[in-house]
């Protein structure tokens, strides 16, 4: 069964200069100059992306900085809207993007757990039932009532991950979060991801840690400047990616792949 299906997805961004927003004055000036600012200055971040993930599989997305990985996850998560193409998700999807994971800095950990849980599709009652388990998993028993702005980045992420794994998601999007947190928590996360996979959940992962990508994924998708460069079996795609990452002068001595 297919869990996530993406067809011919494209996404454009407005190129933002120093001032990312318009003021009424600058809008008026634009009218007088008869200039349409949006069309000319937009650029394509994702072009014609097509792939699908079977239920229970883990897909990792590789790519250099700026290749569109995070944008792809944000489009899948429903934060951005695609300009073209179709996305079809079967089941409940939740995302763990960046460190913030959508917390409100001024609110306490407790309040954020409720807000986040509800956004991920739980009812208030369900969050209440799972609350202790969530806090325990995050290891934040002592600071759960403090505002999250006082949390360290590791604590932030632990709490975000804890809510997401207790939210009965079918599809989980994870962006770079495995790189933060101490060794003990990383282990906890890997265990939980393994458990997820055992339970037949679908995971889409963005990471620069090629070793863990190779261990965790069933398939790897390599994004290069917004298009799919390669897609397939982890070992093969990763070694091609490694080959591409090093400069031509350093390639001597490495096995040839093309």
């Amino acid at each position: 069964m297919i869990a996530v299906e993406v067809e011919n997805l494209s996404k454009r961004f407005r190129r933002q200069t120093v001032q990312p927003y318009t003021t009424i004055k600058s809008a008026l000036v634009d009218i007088f100059r008869r200039r349409k600012s949006t069309e000319a200055e937009s650029f394509e971040v994702l072009r014609d992306i097509t792939f699908s993930v079977k239920q229970g599989q883990t897909l990792s997305i590789l790519g250099r900085n700026g290749s569109g990985k995070s944008t792809l996850l944000k489009v899948l998560a429903g934060i951005y809207r695609a300009d073209h193409g179709r996305i079809c998700v079967h089941g409940r999807l939740g995302a763990l993007l960046d460190l913030g994971t959508g917390f409100h800095p001024e609110f306490s950990g407790r309040e954020n757990v409720f807000i986040n849980g509800i956004i991920l599709g739980l009812s208030k009652k369900e969050v209440r039932q799972r609350f202790d388990r969530i806090v325990q998993f995050a290891g934040l028993e002592t600071s759960i009532d403090e505002p999250v702005k006082t949390y360290s980045s590791g604590m932030y992420m632990r709490l975000g991950f804890a809510v997401a794994v207790h939210a009965d998601l079918d599809v989980l999007l994870i962006d770079e979060i495995l790189a933060v947190g101490d060794a003990a928590f990383q282990l906890k996360c890997s265990d939980k991801i393994a458990e997820f996979r055992q339970h037949g959940k679908t995971i889409i992962l963005v990471s620069h840690d090629l070793t863990s990508v190779e261990q965790l994924s069933d398939e790897v998708l390599w994004l290069d400047r917004g298009v799919i460069r390669e897609r397939g079996e982890p070992q093969r795609v990763i070694s091609q990616y490694r080959w591409d990452m090093v400069g031509p002068e350093e390639r001597t001595g490495l096995p040839e792949h093309h």
């Binding site: 927003y21 003021t23 009424i24 998560a77 959508g102 917390f103 309040e111 807000i115 956004i119 208030k124």
Partner: protein, 259 residues
């Protein structure tokens, strides 16, 4: 499209509830007077306007202080919603950028939190009405209807302002001045009947007028607002709410990219 965003709002009522509670708590935490401050705010305004217009300028309006309060409380709900709503999307950026977050919730929370403040002011209003010996009767039963229409009107306008402010960041600055003009052009510190005939058209153009006049009629003069005025309020409420949702839905997808 509009219906589905309304349905979405209803499905997120638990979230709205948490955020409203949080908003009110944050407002009163850390200030010495706490909750009392909300109650003092309209009373302070009332005191100053009463001094200005009733004592200094000798306005002939009967029971001037309580007359003021009838218009001031709804106005504070309305204007505070717009002011805070204008920045609600930009301030909620950390939520909108990182997770799928129902953006409609943010302006709704602002309006609802200010609505709760308004409700907290109602007992004070009634205390003053009783103190001034104002006789109230059955027309009071129409109060929930007027409040509901004002809620829709305020929410619709806040949706519009919130969405447009993301693109035009100077709107929140202009809005403060604009609301001051709007306040003085509404019959809150003076009765509508004192507006000279040749200036009446200004009242007709002002969508807040039927609300103020209805509150004053019901609470002070024990009068039913005319069916025409009731229809007007209903039309303004639903019409603006509909427009607001359309505008907001139109801009919805640009928020995460623009903030």
């Amino acid at each position: 499209m509009v219906l589905s965003s309304l349905r979405e709002l209803v499905s997120y009522r638990a979230l709205i509830q948490i955020l409203v509670a949080r908003d009110l708590k944050a407002r009163y935490r850390g200030s010495v007077l706490g909750l009392l401050w909300t109650l003092f705010n309209p009373l302070l305004h009332m005191g100053i306007y009463a001094l200005l217009f009733s004592v200094y300028m000798r306005s002939a309006t009967e029971r001037y202080a309580v007359f003021l309060l009838c218009g001031l409380l709804p106005w504070i709900w309305f204007s505070a919603s717009l002011m805070m709503g204008a920045t609600s999307i930009v301030e909620g950026g950390s939520l909108l950028k990182k997770v799928f977050f129902p953006a409609h919730v943010l302006p709704t929370v602002t309006v609802t939190a200010n609505f709760v403040n308004f409700l907290l002011g109602i007992p004070i209003l009634f205390t003053f009405l009783v103190l001034y010996g104002v006789q109230m009767g059955l027309p009071i039963l129409l109060l929930p209807f007027i409040i509901a229409c004002q809620f829709a009107f305020t929410l619709g306008l806040t949706f519009m302002i919130a969405a447009v402010s993301v693109h035009y960041r100077d709107i929140p600055h202009i809005l403060g001045h604009f609301l001051t003009f709007w306040f003085f052009l509404s019959p809150i510190v003076y009765p509508a009947s004192q507006v000279p005939e040749s200036y009446r058209f200004i009242l007709l153009l002002n969508p807040f007028v039927p609300f103020v006049v209805a509150y004053q009629d019901i609470l002070l003069y024990n009068l039913y607002p005319s069916p025409g005025v009731c229809g007007e309020m209903l039309a303004i409420g639903l019409g603006i709410l509909l427009c607001g949702l359309c505008v907001f839905t139109h801009f919805r997808w640009s928020f995460a990219e623009e903030i």
